[in-house]
Amino acid sequence: MQNPDQTKKRADGAPSPLVGEGNRLSVPQHLRVHIHGWLLLLPAAVLLVAFTYYPAVRTIFDSLFSTPRGVRGAVFVGMDNYAAMLADPVFVRALVNNFVYAACVIPLTIALALSMALWVDGRIAGRPFLRLSFFTPTVLPMIAVANIWLFFYAPGYGLLDQILGLFGFSAHNWLGDQHTALACLIAVAIWKDAGFFMIFYLAALQQISPQLAEAAALEGASRWYFFRRVTFPLLMPTTLFVLVNAIINSFRLVDHIVVMTQGGPDNATALLLFYIYEVGFKFWDTAYAATLTVVLLTLLAVFALGQFLILDRRIHYQ
């Protein structure tokens, strides 16, 4: 590869940029391009710094201090907050809950979204209504959804118990039992997000050229083989996008917990962000809330890096 400066020198016959007159003109122009570029970036950069980088750095900084209370100011405590966090059973419970929650919600939501998209992509009767009904949960606010599901789960007369009652099952206190409460919240999250992700899959499916299906049919490929070797790989960019969003949502969306269980019974449904909210805005222990937030930030950063560094390379973009 040739140095662009050398190319330029040969092309216009001017002397090297380091010496001579040409330099005097090219530097300001060079600068002007830079200033222009930075000015274009400025609005986005200001917003990013103000709402993302500064809060993130400040959070890490605050996690090293004690919480100021009344007249007592914050003092530097080093890693004390982190040590307290590791010894905090509620934090450990919330973290484990959150991993279980994510491990269930993410794959199930994506699988459901993909199945629904494949179904309503086909030529079936009542397709617009199906699409609409699958998408409706997305339009509702999470608070409203949670209030509806609260009564689905009500023991005895709730929808779930009424349906199960037809098959002879006895009433169950779904949200009041530590073994079923988290699963109930997982079901709500899947129901809420699957329709949203379905829209992306539907859009991606409609981008796939019908010629591929025709060619596969000529070759005698089965529908499952065609899905596995053609459709699914071509949907991978969408899957990555959906995956990123699903992971973020599984750590970000806790509205239904506030409405349905407030983290109970005995922290069986406490998720990390919900616990951060409690510590920060109910206990007003801002330093400890910052410490917990650092954990959440680190987790999300690791996931994001993993996705973009590992998965992105394996994905075929058209």
């Binding site: 005895g156 006895s170 206190n173 109970g264």
Partner: protein, 436 residues
């Protein structure tokens, strides 16, 4: 002369500027005569609360020209506290707010509220402070000062379905008055088929959204307090507390008259309306809701007694915030006094279902007329004789969570009652160490 003309023009300009600035100053001082106050209030019961509050504020402003009050709905109690403290930290604090009585120590520790005592100037002011039910003032005092004024207060009531009582062969007009009675009645009221399916439970005591309040209905009946008055020490592991919790656990595990697991605060009234439970413990603030929605005759009674009778008070009080000028403070106090006159207290109680906070409010013609048509409204007031202050400590939310989590752990069978209360006490002691 040119110079003279210039000087003349300069003087004219100077004069105009001076006149203008004088005018602005005058306008400024006129505005300063208007005292402006911000008032945050929460909503935790049904009914057109904002309309009622706006009406009160408008009437107060009419009677007190020169004072303007801006009422702001601040969400549920939790949200109202969060909004108030956040606003205070950003320098836009409300001047008056209605917050939970149990937020007292949190507000003192955050150094945001003003004690009421030093603001009282006349004998009438002092008489006003002494006019409330003494039990409502228990959550107002700390460090030798009074910090809050009772406004929307409640206590626990037992609601029972008279039709279900009659169907079970019980006296429909008599509520169980002791723990033993409650268990005996509950066993008759619980309808279980041959397969173990329950179509009607005897009782539901909600155990989400702060089960500690309901537990206090049992601990106070067992003659034990959960914390000291200074809010620096808790007694969760006392045998009488463990016994009270064990009673609650036994309702579902031993006597099988209550559904197992935790019971939602918000769904309990619905369960009662749907006849899934024949009795429920709920806030007296739900009286109007039950009266509107129960499709059957119902009764209202006091929390059953054990070694004694007792029930915790609950609800919200007025707090005054720091950073007010002397005039603002006087106006704020005047507003709080105006909001708690006997007539207003009666009116507020009738409109919302809260307990009118002073005895003389119950003697007003409006209240007498209301009671004649709805005698059940007086049960909560009569229960005040046996009531005590709700648990409130420093770092209240965190101590409360330690207790709530462990109550739930016992109710779902993850811990024994003794272990749960021992754990709660250990956690509370650790949290409260800095305040001792």
């Amino acid at each position: 002369m040119r110079i003279g003309a210039i000087v003349g023009r300069a003087l004219a300009i100077a004069g105009t500027v001076a006149a203008l600035s004088f005018a602005f100053a005058a306008a400024g001082s006129a505005a300063a005569k208007d005292i402006a106050l911000t008032f945050y209030y929460p909503i935790s019961v049904g009914g057109p609360i904002p309309k009622i509050i706006d009406g009160y504020v408008a009437a107060f402003e009419k009677e007190n020209p020169g004072v303007t009050i801006k009422p702001i709905y601040a969400g549920a109690y939790d949200d109202a506290l969060i909004k108030t403290l956040t606003a205070f930290k950003s320098g836009t604090s409300p001047d008056i707010a209605v917050l939970l009585t149990t937020d007292l120590f949190t507000l003192i520790d955050q150094n945001v509220i003003e004690p009421i005592g030093p603001l009282l100037k006349t004998a009438a002011d002092r008489a006003w402070l002494a006019s409330f039910y003494p039990v409502f003032m228990d959550n107002s005092r700390a460090d030798g000062q009074t910090w809050s004024i009772p406004f929307q207060r409640s206590t626990i009531l037992v609601y029972w379905n008279k039709a279900a009582f009659a169907a079970a062969g019980l006296d429909p007009d008599k509520a169980p008055s002791t723990w033993d009675d409650m268990v005996a009645d509950g066993q008759k009221l619980t309808r279980r088929d041959a397969g173990g399916q329950v179509s009607q439970w005897g009782i539901e005591i909600p155990s989400t959204s702060g089960p500690q309040w309901m537990l206090q209905g049992m601990t106070l009946a067992n003659n034990v307090r959960l914390a000291n008055q200074a809010g620096t020490q808790t007694y969760f592991d006392k045998p009488a507390v463990i016994e009270a919790l064990q009673f609650w656990v036994d309702l579902s595990r031993k006597y099988r008259i209550e559904p197992p697991g935790t019971i939602g605060w918000g769904t309990t009234p619905q369960d009662f309306f749907e006849r899934k439970t024949a009795m429920m413990w709920q806030s007296s603030g739900n009286l109007t809701n039950v009266r509107t929605n129960a499709g059957f005759p119902f009764g209202v009674g006091m929390v059953p007694a054990h070694s004694t009778r007792g029930s915790p008070t609950g609800g919200g009080n007025f707090y005054l915030f720091k950073n007010m000028t002397a005039e603002q403070r006087d106006a704020a106090l005047k507003f709080v006094e105006w909001m708690t006159t006997p007539e207003r207290a009666a009116d507020w109680s009738i409109a919302t279902g809260y307990i009118a906070v002073r005895p003389d409010a119950w003697q007003t013609p409006a209240m007498q007329k209301y009671l004649a048509g709805f005698p059940d409204a007086a049960v909560a007031r009569d229960e005040l004789r046996y009531a005590a202050a709700e648990l409130s400590t420093h770092d209240d939310a965190r101590v409360g969570k330690a207790l709530d989590d462990n109550i739930q752990a016992a109710l779902i069978g993850a811990k024994t009652s003794a272990q749960a209360m021992k754990d709660a006490q250990a956690q509370a002691a650790r949290i409260l160490r800095p305040y001792q």
